[in-house]
């Protein structure tokens, strides 16, 4: 009987130490992907786009994956915008990263989307990050959730992990943020329509449709190439 109590006491100590080690380890968010880069270089990339054909209207969105307003916009307005403006060839939509310094994991999320973009699935990851937005409210390290999301959209897990660990696109994200600074972005989401800032009180699909329709109505049709 006494030996049993020794065994259970030793087991309790071992399990306690194991628990301490498990909880004590730093989170899985790779520092290279989660923080700003040491140097910033222009790799020529100007954001992922959604478009059909060659629209005369281009809307650039500066957004932050951890921002609740951006998530709301992506979930509520974007489906209608896709249906009415993008799929109809009226608008090209351009996404630019503008991670806000108050958000702990927004760079990390932006990086996850870029690593998905590397495998041709940026918009799928964009939708996953916004539709599972509870990660932004908990304050917990979302790296494991993002890996799950990457798996859900069919990414090559090893390539995704390598991309995240290396922080391959940290410089690109910071370049985008600095570009946003230069054009006057001071919050997210901020929109530019053919280079002019959207100053409407509410960024809704109806507001964008009205502006896009107005621009299209005042744009002379492109000359057709002459036939020989």
């Amino acid at each position: 009987m006494n030996r049993f109590y020794v065994v259970i006491a030793v087991l309790a100590v071992v399990l306690g130490i194991a628990l301490f080690v498990l909880l004590g380890r730093s989170g899985g968010a790779a520092a290279a992907a989660a923080g700003p880069p040491v140097t910033v270089e222009d790799d020529g990339f100007r954001g992922y786009t959604l478009a059909v054909g060659d629209p005369v209207v281009e809307i650039t969105e500066y957004s932050d994956f951890e921002c609740p307003f951006c998530a709301n916009f992506a979930m509520v307005q974007m489906p209608t915008i896709k249906e009415q403006l993008i799929n109809t060839g009226k608008v090209r939509w351009r996404y630019r990263d503008f991670p806000l310094p108050v958000h702990r994991y927004s760079r990390f999320a932006a990086h996850a989307a870029q690593c998905a973009g590397e495998q041709g699935r940026f918009w799928e990851m964009h939708d996953q990050l916004f539709s599972h937005h509870q990660w932004a409210q908990t304050g917990k390290d979302p790296s494991a959730l993002f890996r799950d999301l990457a798996k859900t959209i069919g990414l090559d897990q090893a390539r995704y992990d390598t991309c995240m660990t290396a922080g391959r696109y940290a410089s690109r994200i910071e370049f985008s943020r600095q570009e946003g600074d230069k054009v006057g972005v001071n919050g997210t989401p901020t929109f530019y329509i053919n280079g002019k800032v959207f100053t409407g009180s509410r960024a809704t699909s109806d507001a964008f449709k009205a502006i896009a329709d107005s621009i299209i109505a005042h744009t002379p049709p492109k000359p057709r190439p002459a036939r020989n």
């Binding site: 009987m1 049993f4 065994v7 259970i8 087991l11 309790a12 399990l15 306690g16 194991a18 628990l19 498990l22 909880l23 004590g24 380890r25 730093s26 989170g27 899985g28 968010a29 599972h132 509870q134 990660w135 908990t138 304050g139 917990k140 390290d141 979302p142 790296s143 494991a144 959730l145 890996r147 799950d148 798996k151 897990q157």
Partner: protein, 147 residues
């Protein structure tokens, strides 16, 4: 006696598994160490909270009750007392049914498997088997007379 010792040891392991998941749910520590499993998907799903309390907390309470029950039942005066076997079998049955429900949610609703939850499911299943066998053996040894 051996069966109660086994239940105490298993409940201790289960207690620490549930404690880890509960502390994680409270925001202690980083991401769950889960390998390639879907722990975060399960833990961030809406089924990870029941009546406003993280599900893992019920596991902590359940395993702690089993651990204390098994240890108390190892007192010399309680060794031959059938009620302790009934209590351990009853508690583990509740745990097993709750685990079965959670495993169903993982497999057919959330479509993700948390390895820590699977570990807990194995532990509670073994505890239940041991507790039920112990109860049946005791009943077989000491037949009750019906008057």
């Amino acid at each position: 006696m051996r069966s109660r010792q086994a239940i105490a040891l298993l409940a201790l392991v289960g207690f620490f598994v549930a404690l880890y998941l509960w502390l994680h749910a409270l925001g202690v520590g980083g991401a769950l160490k889960c390998g390639t499993g879907g722990c975060e998907t399960v833990q961030t799903s809406r089924w990870a909270v029941l009546f406003g309390v993280p599900v893992a907390f019920y596991g902590v309470v359940g395993y702690f009750a089993l651990l204390v029950g098994a240890l108390v039942s190892l007192r010399p005066a309680a060794l031959r007392d059938r009620k302790w076997n009934v209590m351990l079998a009853g508690l583990s049955t509740i745990g097993l049914l709750f685990t079965a429900y959670l495993t169903y949610l993982e497999l057919f609703v959330i479509h993700a498997i948390c390895r820590w939850c699977v570990g807990s499911a194995v532990i509670i299943t073994v505890i239940w088997v041991v507790a039920v066998i112990a109860l049946r053996r005791q009943d077989a040894r000491t037949p009750r007379h019906v008057s």
